[in-house]
Amino acid sequence: MAGDAAVPFVEIEALRSREFIPAAKEALSSMIAEQGQSKLIRPVFNWAGRNSLFPLHWGLACCAIEFAAAFGARWDAERFGVVPRSSPRQCDLMIVNGTVTWKVAHKLITLYEQMPEPKWVIAMGNCATGGGPFRTAYSVVPGVDKLVPVDVYIAGCPPRPEAMLDGILRLEDLIRLRKE
């Protein structure tokens, strides 16, 4: 151990100046911004984003039962990192699993807005896609894309759990191709 320990700690303090911290902060943030755009970092985050999709835990109608079945032992959607969360704040994926009525439309939009970016929507089943057998009804929204932007549509009334998982995998492909 060289040195006589007489050098006070103040010398380190002297490095601080009024200009230094803002400058360092700026450099750091611009570096992060560049890195965020770089080809190195983005695929990593992209990989993370597409492999960990948390759907909103809610059930609208019939498809909700198949949605639940997809988390059952036979299909086990958690294999793909899909874990339903009850709070929209913690979700990145809204699976609209059923008929959307005008009464629930406002709530659906609120929930969508409560989800933090980036976020995706899957219209599961014919009702969410275009109203399904109830498209003529007075209270039914003919397709959830009238309310929120939809990324993947899954056909079926209701779609089998395999179809739902396939829809999620398609969404993962979409995320992989994201350019922004």
Partner: protein, 375 residues
């Protein structure tokens, strides 16, 4: 004497700085190789190693729970990201890092950000306090057990701060429940620890582990172990005591309004606390890194054997926690509090009395004698 992690870090820093100092001109060289700087950098490096190791450990722990829980439920858990889903939690963490961080309009800014951060920090400090093996901690703290429990009990405060400042009714109810529960179970937790302290005669975790060389404490202090594990489950907010996050009625409990990185803080800290809880069970009752005498010495004498055996024990304890989670429903608030105040505290007091008995008898028929306490 085995090497200490801190001395390794310190020597490493000293080595590097001396090497740099030898090529620099004199005043700079003297400045760069002074003891204060080396100590400071040594502490930082030590903390960084500790942080990375404990975070990796926590992430593996989450993976372990998900897989084990899946097996209990006849399914496989995360499979597709990395080998057997090992990278799943890294993906989750990175994704949450990228998510938009936001604050609800009505939420209180200071508390909203302070809560999860302080919760995370106080949980992580614990890793610096708890010894994993001889020397693998920040040094000899005579009262390390007490310090660990004090830091451990900060959590309800920060949970309540974050719950209140989220300005959500579910969060608030979750925060209230959390505070009530943690205060109620703090007392039996400490009392059951007192039983251990009475027998071992020390608050130093290193000493407590060393005292268990003849026999581990889980046998003579079985009652204390039961009380400690139950209280620890409540402190960790795991099923059957996960009322503050009771999903069925409170959506996500006190972290309802949290998303993105702040939510990741909560999630990670919960598991950090689960890990620390398992650490404490192993340290206090299962002999820490020591192994009983009948284990062949080859199994205990390889390098880092202490850490390996310690972690094996920790994961076994945690597997029991997961097993409990897979098999028991959640209790109700009033039942929880009634059990806490009416059952746990008398039992914990009884365990202290039993511990005093153990100390008086000194030698137990099956287990053998206590080592000489030197007090």
């Amino acid at each position: 004497m085995t090497v200490s992690l801190y001395s390794v870090a310190h020597d490493l820093v000293a080595l590097v700085l001396t090497a740099i100092g030898s090529v620099l001109p004199a005043p700079l060289s003297r400045w760069i190789t002074n003891a204060g700087l080396i100590t400071a950098l040594g502490v930082i490096v030590f903390a960084a190693i500790l942080l990375i190791a404990s975070m990796l450990n926590t992430i593996v722990l989450i993976w372990f729970e998900r897989k084990l829980l899946g097996r209990f439920m006849d399914r496989r858990g995360a499979m597709h990201v990395g080998f057997a889903g090992l990278l799943q939690n890294f993906a989750d963490g990175l994704k949450l890092m990228r998510k938009n961080t936001f604050r609800p309009e009505e939420a209180d800014g200071l508390g909203f950000y302070l809560g999860p951060t302080a919760y995370m920090v106080t949980s992580l400090i614990l890793f610096g306090i708890l010894p994993v093996s001889t020397g693998w901690n920040s040094g000899v703290l005579p009262l390390s057990l007490l310090l660990a429990l004090v830091v451990f009990s900060f959590a309800p405060l920060f949970i309540f701060i974050s719950a209140w400042s989220s300005n959500n009714k579910y969060s608030l109810m979750g925060g209230m429940r959390s505070a009530a529960q943690m205060i109620a179970y703090e007392v039996p937790l400490l009392l059951s620890v007192v039983a251990v302290v009475v027998v071992s005669g020390s608050f130093d975790l290193n000493t407590i582990v060393a005292q268990q060389q003849n026999y581990w404490y889980w046998g003579p202090l079985f009652l204390a172990l039961i009380v400690f594990v139950a209280a620890m489950l409540a402190e960790m907010e795991r099923i059957p005591f996960d009322l503050p996050e009771a999903e069925a009625e409170l959506v996500e409990g006190w972290n309802t309004e949290y998303g993105g990185m702040l939510f990741a803080f909560f999630m990670l800290s919960d598991y950090v606390r689960a890990l620390v809880g398992s650490f404490l069970v192993v340290l206090l009752f299962l002999g820490g890194w020591t192994m009983p005498g009948w284990v062949p010495s080859a199994a205990t004498s390889f390098p880092l054997a202490g850490i390996v055996w310690f972690m094996v024990k920790v994961y076994i304890v945690f597997a029991v926690f997961v097993w409990i989670r897979a098999a028991l429903p959640r209790v109700r608030t009033d039942q929880l509090l009634r059990v806490g105040w009416n059952r746990m505290i008398p039992l914990a007091l009884l365990s202290v009395v039993l511990a005093a008995g153990v100390v008086m008898v000194k030698c137990l028929p099956v287990f053998g004698c206590l080592p000489n306490l030197g007090i």
